[in-house]
């Protein structure tokens, strides 16, 4: 018992050590990411002032990097809920090492993603017109538009994820409360909602957490299905296909898992959490990565087969264009990143090599960003009317805003690591019992 107590104390100290006074490297990282964030905001400000023309989007490619970024970040947001809620329901214990980070990632990624629909609006100051709010002029939103579904899907996902994250954190906040003093303690006291860890509280807590997990699970499917319908509901060849929802969900889990690996590998090293996040845990993540990679690859194949089997001229022309047209290099690079490279982790040695996994996860992140770019841009570039065909080249403003989105994400993530426990202390305690 005393040894267990000792281990728990050690665990608490280890996790809370990450919240200690930051080192120089932290300040550097924070400076870089907040600078990126500032650059992005500056670019956005310029875009609002001048007009959307400072971006490269044009006729016929009305959506470009911004929507790519949106889908990318929504995709990143996926794994949080998957790892937390779905794996919780499936009693996959390895999730406990990642769930807090993954959930935080979800929250910040959804926040970042949520900005992009605003950024890409021609008149972003009127964004609230997309909400069905009662107004004097009796104007209502168009419920047939997938963009309205998006508003609901993303905001619901954000709300539920936030609650789930917060509820999961309450016992830990109470632990932090114990270790802090002064104003900090006062704040943690408020947010730990009078948690005392009584059996009665635990009983209710467990039920609530499970219900929330059950509530969040369908959202994993729904949010990205809805995002995919932004495309699938259109008449654009290359977008208009029924497989988009499962295809995008798999892609989202794929990219989200990759992002978890990207974040947790360095975090584990920096905060010395090797004891709690083990190589076996990463191996489990790598298996998810491999599985979803194969689903994604299967979807790629299905898209082509459908196009050619249907005999639909426009679909065939589009898929030929996608693989051999203006954006062919991006397409083949995407295939390399998403379909070929992940196959290497069939090799056990490689999937237990954290450096290798880290590098692979970067490739997958790039590949998944490219996937959205290729789908969005190449479909719009050449659709029905050959006169209207055109290409799209992003501008520095779009690059700046994309950079800013990473800046925003990492800024929030870094602040998270300093202000909140990065591991779920209580849940790790549970599995070590």
């Amino acid at each position: 018992m005393s040894s267990l107590k000792g281990t728990f104390d050690q665990l608490e100290r280890d996790v809370l050590a990450a919240m200690a006074k930051p080192k120089k490297s932290f300040w550097l990282a924070l400076a870089v990411s907040s600078l990126m964030f500032a650059v992005g905001m500056g670019c956005w400000g310029w875009q609002i002032y001048k007009g959307l023309g400072v971006a490269g989007i044009t006729n016929p490619v009305g959506w470009g990097v911004y929507i790519t970024d949106f889908v990318f970040w929504v995709g990143i947001a996926h794994s949080g809920t998957l790892i937390s809620a779905v794996l919780f329901l499936f009693r996959a214990k390895f999730r406990n090492s990642f769930n807090r980070t993954a959930e935080a990632m979800t929250i910040f990624a959804v926040m970042t993603a949520g900005l992009f629909p605003l950024i890409h609006l021609g008149r972003c100051w009127l964004f609230y017109w997309l909400f069905p709010y009662p107004n004097q002029r009796l104007l209502w939103v168009n419920f047939r538009s997938p963009l309205v579904w998006d508003v609901f899907a993303v905001s619901t996902y954000f709300t539920v994820s936030l609650i789930f994250w917060y509820v999961g954190m309450v016992p830990d906040l109470a632990i932090v409360r114990r270790y802090t003093t002064g104003v900090k303690q006062w704040i943690f006291r408020i947010f730990s909602l009078g948690w005392r860890g009584t059996r009665y509280q635990w009983e209710h807590y467990g039920k609530l957490y499970m219900f929330l997990a059950a509530l969040a699970t369908p959202l994993v499917i729904s949010v990205h299905s809805v995002v995919s319908w932004d495309f699938a509901m259109s008449v654009v060849p290359g977008w208009h296909t029924t497989i988009f929802a499962p295809y995008f969900v798999a892609g989202a889990i794929f990219s989200g898992t990759a992002m978890v690996i990207t974040l947790v590998v360095p975090m584990r090293r920096i905060f010395n959490l090797e004891t709690y996040i083990t190589v076996s845990h990463f191996e489990s993540l790598a298996k998810i990565l491999l599985f979803t990679s194969m689903i994604v690859t299967y979807s790629y194949i299905v898209e082509y087969v459908l196009a050619f089997y249907s005999g639909h001229e426009f679909e065939i022309a589009h898929f030929l264009y996608r693989s051999f047209g203006d954006y062919k290099y991006l397409y083949w690079l995407m295939l390399l990143c998403n379909s070929l490279l992940p196959l290497t982790i069939f090799v056990k040695k490689l999937r237990r090599n954290l450096t290798y996994l880290f590098i692979l996860s970067l490739f997958v992140n790039v590949g998944m960003w490219l996937e959205r770019f290729v789908i969005i841009v190449s479909s719009l570039a050449k659709d029905y009317d050959p006169y209207a065909w055109g290409t799209y080249t992003p501008t520095l403003i779009e690059a700046g805003i994309t950079l800013g989105s990473f800046g925003m994400f990492f800024t929030f993530f870094l602040l998270f690591t300093k202000y909140l426990p990065v591991l779920s202390i209580t849940e790790i305690k549970e599995i070590s019992e």
Binding site: K50, G51, L52, G53, G56, I57, T58, N59, P60, G62, W63, P117, H120, L121, G122, R123, C124, L126, F127, W129, L130, L139, W140, V141, N142, R144, S145, P146, L147, V148, V151, D230, M233, S234, V235, V236, S310, G311, H312, E313, F314, L380, K382, D383, Y384, D385, P386, Y387, A388, W389, G390, T391, T393
Partner: protein, 914 residues
């Protein structure tokens, strides 16, 4: 601070704020006059008759004026030249009036070579002083002038002892006038009655683009469609005219005399040729003619048979057919054929000829050039010159005059270095008349008080004649009895004293040896549909609208055949270095599938002052130049090419009879038999109106007049070359050239199709675009947040996003149509079927308690169309033209397979070979 001090300070501050806010006059005159002019209703456009002066064709126009601002020009229905239509240049010429770069006041050149604005008194005093002091001859050099102004200039030259130089006109049709002079003693361009001919053979003349009176020819073309006219067009290059002929024959450049000489002998003469003339015509066998022209023998025999069988033929040569070394000979042989086949007096009309008598050929300026070089000229007065690149000797000699006075509206190159510049009023600011065609007088009437400190040429001359008249009274006196009719109607046809000429008995057989045409690669210089000879280049709108053949907007280029591009290993936008004897040019290329191998096409206005080699006999610049060498320079120039592909439309359901295979199985084009597309929504029902448009591809010539009309009517923004390069043109209506499966070029006007099941409507999250109760797909600018999903989801890609706030540099803002809002940045826009006109039409009908009648009003595009290709109307009205056209077996709609059910019906071509 004390309470009192505080109150004082507050008093000063608030008082100051109130006073300063009174400083600027916040009044904007929404209605410019309290008591409107007679017959003018505030908010309603008044129509004033006038005449377009952008080129010399003299088309009658109605100027739409609202609250004293002219905001649109429209062709005048019933006018003898253009009968209601107006070309692209005519539409755009309103922006000449309001151009920010116009000269606003008289200018005097200072010692440093700069110009300084001076008063009219000062400028006139300077001119008078120069006249009294400079010594030497005084010369009046002007562009082509007809009507009263021509008479006044004569009077002026007499009273002020000026010599009147021949008039300058780039396209002076020298060869035609030479032939007329040599054979009939008439040095003029005859009027051609295209519509009356049952067989039309045209050589080179770009009848539907720039040739003499293109709108008139386009209207005649449309009239001829109603009957069984067979039209052969022979050209070395590719033109809109050739594309619309029943049969376009590609001929080797400058080889026309072989064909004509053969035809002269092969087609039995209906009027005898004098033996001397007949003998002088070279004997050419069918085989030789075929070999030289590059046409198969069967084809030239078909031509012969068509002419032989014809009861009222018309054969004419012009444009590029006369631009080679054999130009004069071709014109002479064509005129001989016109005589021998009895066209003169029937389809070739010398009685009411086009007024080109006073225009000079290049050779006619030799005397003036000598005088200028010898410093014999004291005062040189130049007026309405745009450039003198076709007579470079004159261009270079201009500075030989001791004192130069320039009358102009813009600082065109000939005015560089003029001592005094006298700014001319635009024709919409002045009284005048023109007589473009013998006996056809058309009124020019001011609708606008001169915007700047300018005068009309007539007023300037009368001031210098110092006889106390102003031009308006001068005109009234000159018009006399026809004045009333002219003012009421806008035009008058005067009796003519001219007669039909006969072949001059002693007509000496003129130059009759055929020179060897260029054998290999040839540069073909052709006039530009958009800028004529380059004079309209100042009008930005014309750069914004693509050349319909190359689909390029801004910049210069050469058009190259696809085969040659392959040989050269060159693609669109890459620079080609072309060397011809005496001229070289480097321009980016645009390939064109219809251009024959070995031909390079360039527009006259894109040569940028390049001196062309000259015809030995006439001195005119040649338009057919053998290319010595060509090579790709390796440089890529980013030219804005608007078309994504000329050839990609095949099998996509855009061209007639060209549906994709995957569409529902059914026969023919009869859309009525199709299964209605499956839908969850109830069918839309309309109670009174369902607006629709029909576009007859049989009539569309691709002239782009509708595009210009649409731009001006709807305040469509001009965005400039940088935006065009990345595909952000704002045109609501565009002319798409597409090559069909059988190798024909179609020009398809595409605008918002106002679909029954519009894909854009479903995806807009805020209902900014929705289906109106009369079938219109309506766009609410105020409601639009700019997601651009609608544009992505539009299969026709006709929606236009405002990437920036657009500017209309003053005074161009006066041209904005007050009925159409100017769209801010971040908002989607598109064709509205001219909803402002629909509203006005409906209001008018409602006032009279009835439904809108068919044809009561129409859209801007339909109004401007010279061939009547566009019909607008109400589909629910079973007696309407649009209903009949929509039910026509020729009707089809774009991309029918998607199930959008557009309200724009396209009619496929009638003629099998057309």
């Amino acid at each position: 601070m004390q309470r009192r001090e505080f109150l004082k300070l507050m008093g000063i501050v608030s008082g100051g704020a109130v006073l300063s806010s009174c400083g600027e006059d916040p009044h904007k005159k929404l209605i410019s006059h309290v008591v409107p002019r007679e017959g003018e209703v505030p908010g309603m456009a008044a129509l004033y008759p006038s005449t377009c002066t952008e080129c010399g064709a003299g088309c009658g126009i109605w100027v739409r004026v609202r609250e004293r601002n002219p905001f649109k020009l429209e062709g005048m229905p019933g006018h003898p030249i253009n009968d209601g239509a107006l070309c692209i240049r005519g539409q755009a010429s309103l922006s000449r009036l309001l151009h920010p770069d116009r000269i606003t006041a008289p200018r005097r050149r200072t010692n440093t070579g700069d110009y300084q604005d001076v008063s009219w008194e000062q400028a006139m005093a300077d001119v008078e002083q120069a006249l009294s002091e400079s010594g030497g001859r005084q010369v009046y050099l002007a562009g082509r002038t007809t009507g009263s102004l021509a008479a006044l200039i004569d009077e002026f030259c007499r009273t002020r002892s000026f010599d009147r130089a021949p008039e300058v006109e780039r396209f002076n049709h020298e060869a035609i006038r030479f032939a007329g002079d040599a054979l009939f003693g008439r040095k003029s361009v005859p009027q051609y009655h295209l519509a009356e001919a049952d067989v039309l053979v045209s050589l080179g003349a770009d009848l539907l683009e720039t040739f003499v009176s293109p709108v008139n020819f386009a209207r005649q073309f449309a009239a001829a469609l109603e009957k069984e006219q067979r039209w052969y067009h022979l050209e070395p290059h590719f033109s809109l005219t050739g594309n619309r002929a029943s049969r376009r024959l590609v001929i080797r450049p400058d080889s026309e005399p072989y064909l004509l000489a053969w035809l002269l002998r092969a087609v039995p003469a209906r009027r005898d040729l004098p033996a001397a003339v007949a003998a002088a015509v070279p004997a050419v066998t069918a085989e030789a003619a075929a070999r030289q022209t590059g046409l198969p023998v069967t084809v030239i025999e078909e031509l012969r048979d068509a002419l032989r069988a014809s009861s009222n033929p018309l054969l004419l040569a012009g444009g590029v057919a006369l631009a080679g070394n054999n130009g004069r000979l071709t014109a002479v042989l064509a005129a001989l054929l016109q005589w021998s086949l009895d066209m003169v007096g029937r389809t070739v009309d010398y009685e009411r000829h086009e007024n080109y008598e006073t225009v000079g050929g290049a050779a006619d300026f030799a005397g003036l050039v000598d005088a200028l070089s010898d410093k014999q000229i004291g005062v040189l007065l130049i007026s309405r010159l745009y450039h003198l690149d076709h007579v470079p000797s004159l261009r270079d000699a201009l500075c030989g005059a001791r004192f130069r006075v320039g009358l102009t509206d813009f600082m065109y190159p000939p005015y560089d270095g003029c001592d005094v510049i006298l700014p001319l009023s635009h024709s919409l600011e002045s009284w005048d008349d023109v007589e473009p065609r013998h006996g056809v007088i058309s009124l020019i009437k001011p609708v606008f008080r001169p915007l700047h400190d300018t005068l009309s040429e007539g007023d300037i001359l009368l001031q210098m004649m110092n006889n106390g008249l102003n031009y308006r009274t001068y005109l009234a006196r000159r018009w006399g009895t026809i004045g009333r009719e002219l003012l009421d109607q806008g035009w008058v046809i005067r009796d003519t004293e001219e007669t039909t000429p006969t072949l001059q008995a002693g007509a000496p057989p003129p130059v009759i040896t055929i020179q060897e045409p260029p054998a290999d690669k040839t540069l073909v210089v052709v006039p530009s549909l958009r800028t004529f000879d380059g004079r309209s280049r100042v009008l930005t709108l014309l750069h914004e609208i693509p050349d319909p053949i190359a689909t390029i907007t801004y910049g210069n280029w050469v058009t190259l055949s696809v085969a040659d591009a392959d040989t050269l290993g060159i693609t669109d936008g890459q620079e080609l270095d072309i060397r011809t004897s005496g001229a070289g040019l480097r321009l980016p290329v645009k390939t064109h599938p219809q251009l024959a191998a070995g031909r390079v096409m360039v527009h006259t206005d894109q040569l940028d002052g390049l001196a062309l080699p000259r015809d030995a006999s006439s001195g005119e610049p040649l338009g057919i130049l053998p290319i010595d060498s060509w090579q790709a320079t390796g440089t890529r120039i980013d030219v804005p090419i608007l078309s994504g592909s000329f050839t990609g439309a095949v099998g996509r359901g855009i061209l007639p009879h060209d549906k994709p295979h995957h569409g529902p199985a059914h026969g023919g084009d009869d859309h009525a038999t199709e299964h209605p597309p499956a839908t969850l929504y109830p069918p839309k029902e309309y109670s009174r109106y369902r607006w629709a448009l029909a576009i007859d591809l049989d009539r569309c010539i691709g002239c782009s007049a509708c595009v210009a009309a649409c731009y001006i009517e709807n305040n469509v923004a001009i965005v400039g070359p940088d935006e065009h390069r990345i595909g952000r043109e704002m045109a609501w209506l565009r002319i798409e050239p597409h090559l069909s499966r059988d190798g024909r070029m179609f020009f398809i006007p595409v605008m918002c199709q106002h679909c029954e099941n519009a894909p854009c409507e479903a995806v807009c999250p805020v209902y900014a675009t929705y289906h109106g109760s009369e079938g219109l797909n309506q766009q609410v600018y105020n409601r639009c947040v700019g997601t651009r999903y609608c544009a992505n989801n539009c299969p026709y890609k006709v929606r236009r996003f405002n990437w920036f706030d657009h500017e209309w540099p003053s005074p161009l803002n006066l041209m904005l149509n007050p009925d159409v809002s100017v769209r801010p940045k971040g908002v989607m826009e598109k064709c509205t079927f001219c909803i402002q006109r629909i509203r006005q039409g409906k209001d008018h009908a409602k006032d009279q308690g009835r439904q809108v009648k068919d044809g009561e009003f129409t859209t801007a595009c339909a109004q401007s169309c010279p061939t009547g290709a566009i019909t607008f109307g109400n589909l629910l009205d079973r007696s309407s033209r649009i209903y009949a056209l929509a039910q026509s077996p020729r009707a089809y709609r774009l991309l029918e397979g998607i199930g959008t059910e557009p309200a724009v019906y396209y009619l496929s071509k009638k003629r099998e070979n057309a």
